[in-house]
Amino acid sequence: MRSNFTWLSDFIMGHKKSFLAAAFLAILCIPLLPQNPFYQDLLIQVFFWATLASAWNLLGGFAGQISLGHAAFFGIGAYTSTILYLTFGLSPWIGMFAGAGLSVSVALIVGLPCFRLSSHFFALATLAFAEVLRLLASYWRGLTNGGVGLLIPHQVAFKNFVFEGKLAYSYVILAMLLGIFFVSYFLKNSRLGYSLVALREDQNAAESLGVNTNRTKMISLVISVFFTSLVGTFYAQYYAFIDPDIVFTSQISIQLALLSIIGGVGTILGPIIGATFLIPLDVFLRGWLGGVFSGMNFVIYGFVLICAVRYFPYGIFGWLKMRSDKFLTKSALVFSSPGAGVPVPDANEPCRQSTRCEKPLMMVNSISKRFGGLHAVEDLSFSIHEGEILGLIGPNGAGKTTVFNLISGFITPHSGSIHFEGRDITSLGHAHRFCKQGIGRTFQIVKPFQSMTVLENIMVGGFNRVRDVEKAREEALGIVERIHLSHHAMTQSSHLTLANRKRLELGRALATRPRLLLLDEVMAGLNPKETEDIIAVIRSLPKEGITILMIEHVMKAVMALSDRVMVISSGIKIVEGLPEHITKDKRVIDAYLGEAYNATAV
């Protein structure tokens, strides 16, 4: 059975191009299949909703920005082309792109600030936005004819985007569907696609790996809105009638999400599968129940939606994939053991031979940060020398993590300056820019991208320097081996143990090829053997030109690894020096154990 299967898949892989061409031709024949207008219309509806849901999914599924206001862009598309056509006789083919342009501009203006909101409130804001447009369209009669709506005359001509029969329409909408499908496909398998999923899973972690989360969200918004708007024009032309309550209704926005979720949110095929299953079901339900039980179909939808998110969070596609994955795990194992030629992160540094060289890599000059009345960090200055390992210790609440957040760009200091390799980076503003400069970091509370495999997690880091997916994969395989996670390369990171998550956290930061690596308690919670392993990895890094600043509570590790140790307490530097001196310093003992303890001891 299995051997048959492998033979088949080998054959398909061997003739990939011909199979793709055949599949493409087969898809092009689909509109020819239905013989009567009812089924033709059904097919058009499936294509139509599949396109819209795919567009929604690009933003809501891939980037995790849940919009409940896509009807806004659908409506803008429908109204723009229709108004241009009816008033100026402009061909809807052109109007369609004018509408899409308008939608994109509106989305950029409204979307940029909205992206700062958390998921729930982003959803609310988009919902309210679509509602505003619906009300405005009803009110602004001079432009939109208000609630009466706009009727497109039936003047059959190609340039009018009006056709006899339904076949031509089905090809137009199929073209749109193929368009969004290919865009999604290429996106998913590109650097940008990895960034999208990364930011959905954890925005801060993505930023720390050099992902410009705002720009990434914007790109997915623009593509999503563009296609939504095109389909809006299609709707107007196909049904030849629009009014505000049809095209701006929140029901459209919800339906898009529903189809994506049931099909498989965040996957390329999910929304298409969702539409293929649900739209015929919907038409059937409406026909069957509609006369007597109008509204029953939505009751069923509601049930399906609640059950789907609870029991099938990955939708139909996820369920299908889970079954087929049983075959794939075998080949994945083969894939995960990489051959020789493991690339080591670039070591184009002069310091490679000597363990210590005294050139300051980073200079922090009297930075301060307050949270309300709390001085988290006050007037702190220090420098990190190229090739050294600097330990940062201090009691709980001393401000260690705040220091990390300041020098990795997550927060900006109120005063003071930070120089890295001689450049002033104090107010670069975004963490991803710090990463691009060569500052990598891990988080005390590990932040793996849960839905990604270990390898994919590391690839996100790799994309900081590499654009090519294959190259990033190759490098990631090398790093996986270094951090002793080879046998887990294809494991979904949510299934990892804490020790392995900590390793992954380190590996991901390494993949960005940092010059300075900030390690925030990478050993906390590990057993002695695991600690040994990770110490060995860290110790090898300075030889490759990676300088390290680490926060650590495991004293054994701090003493064994650090060239120098800096102690802070209440946001102030107490002392800085060689590890063996630090442990004997009275001020340090005071800070850790309290002055009272010291007094009684004396």
């Binding site: 700062r116 609310l124 309210a128 009300l135 009110y139 529903l258 979720i261 509204g295 998110v309 609870r310």
Partner: protein, 287 residues
């Protein structure tokens, strides 16, 4: 002109009281459970239908119906929380958002199924009665509605300050984990908080019935106002919600008069988006 302005303020404040009651349930749920109840409007709709049918069948005055509505909606809320909300409390936002949206869809369309899209209204002896204060007119049902709403809100405040359960709810809203460590039964407290939220919106529905008509999608009309109020009030402050409710009521009155009654919703939605964007902690929010 001064009379007109005073009149608008009075009308706005009276309406705002109901908005506050309606929104306070949403604030309660968001503050404690950290989810947005997108089905909130549908609970309002159900309450309005219940009030309508009780009035229709038994002739019981909507305000008296409150005695039935408040406890039964509390229980309804507890039930919904246990069955539908509890399993998704630690889920990603997508699941939370679409669970309550799904719930709303079910309620809304069940109403459509049973009651059709007709508009129904309750005609009471005082429906169009007014008090005249010089030049000013105060509508009696609106005044009663306002007073009832404020009384219920005041009762809720006292409950939250004085009772153990009330304090547990507040503790949970402020610091979930610490509250757990202090031995608060989180499960039970979530249910109670959700129940109270639903009881509030239920009460708002009963109070609204003599003033407004009910139809299956009436909830979506009001829930958006409630969202605006909650955001304006700073998400998790009941006091803020009360003030914000009154403010929105007054704004609605003014924009309806000076701009256009058709655009009043546009005005506060735009306000809403601006607040979300430029002052995400709300006008009366802490921080």
């Amino acid at each position: 002109m001064l009379e007109i302005i005073l009149q608008l303020v009075i009308n706005g404040l009276l309406l705002g009281g109901i908005y506050a009651l309606l929104s306070i349930g949403l604030t309660m749920i968001f503050g404690v459970l950290e989810i947005i109840n997108f089905a909130h409007g549908e609970f309002l709709m159900i309450s309005m239908y219940v009030t309508f049918f009780i009035f229709q069948a038994l002739g019981i005055d909507p305000y008296i119906t409150l005695v039935i509505i408040i406890p039964s909606f509390f229980l309804l809320g507890v039930l919904v929380e246990q069955v539908i909300i509890k399993p998704i409390l630690n889920d990603p936002p997508l699941n939370q958002i679409f669970t309550t949206i799904g719930l709303g869809l079910i309620f809304q369309n069940l109403a459509l199924l049973f009651f059709k899209a007709d508009f129904r209204t309750v005609k009471t002896s005082y429906s169009s009665a007014n008090i005249f204060l010089g030049e000013l007119i105060v509508s009696i049902p609106r005044l009663i509605a306002f007073l009832l709403a404020v009384t219920i809100i005041a009762g809720l405040f006292v409950f939250l300050r004085k009772t153990f359960t009330g304090k547990a709810i507040r503790a949970l809203a402020q610091q979930r984990r610490a509250a757990m460590l202090m031995g608060i039964n989180v499960d039970k407290t979530y249910s109670i908080a959700f129940g109270i939220g639903i009881a509030c919106v239920g009460a708002a529905g009963a109070i609204l019935m003599p003033l407004f008509f009910v139809f299956p999608t009436v909830g979506s009309l009001f829930v958006l106002i409630a969202f605006v109020v909650v955001v304006l009030g700073g998400y998790n402050s009941l006091g803020g919600t009360l003030v914000a409710g009154l403010v929105i009521g007054v704004i609605e009155g003014f924009s309806g008069f000076f701009i256009s009654p058709h655009l009043k919703e546009v005005i506060y939605f735009i306000m809403f988006i601006f607040i979300l964007i430029f002052r995400p902690t709300g006008l009366f929010g802490r921080r």
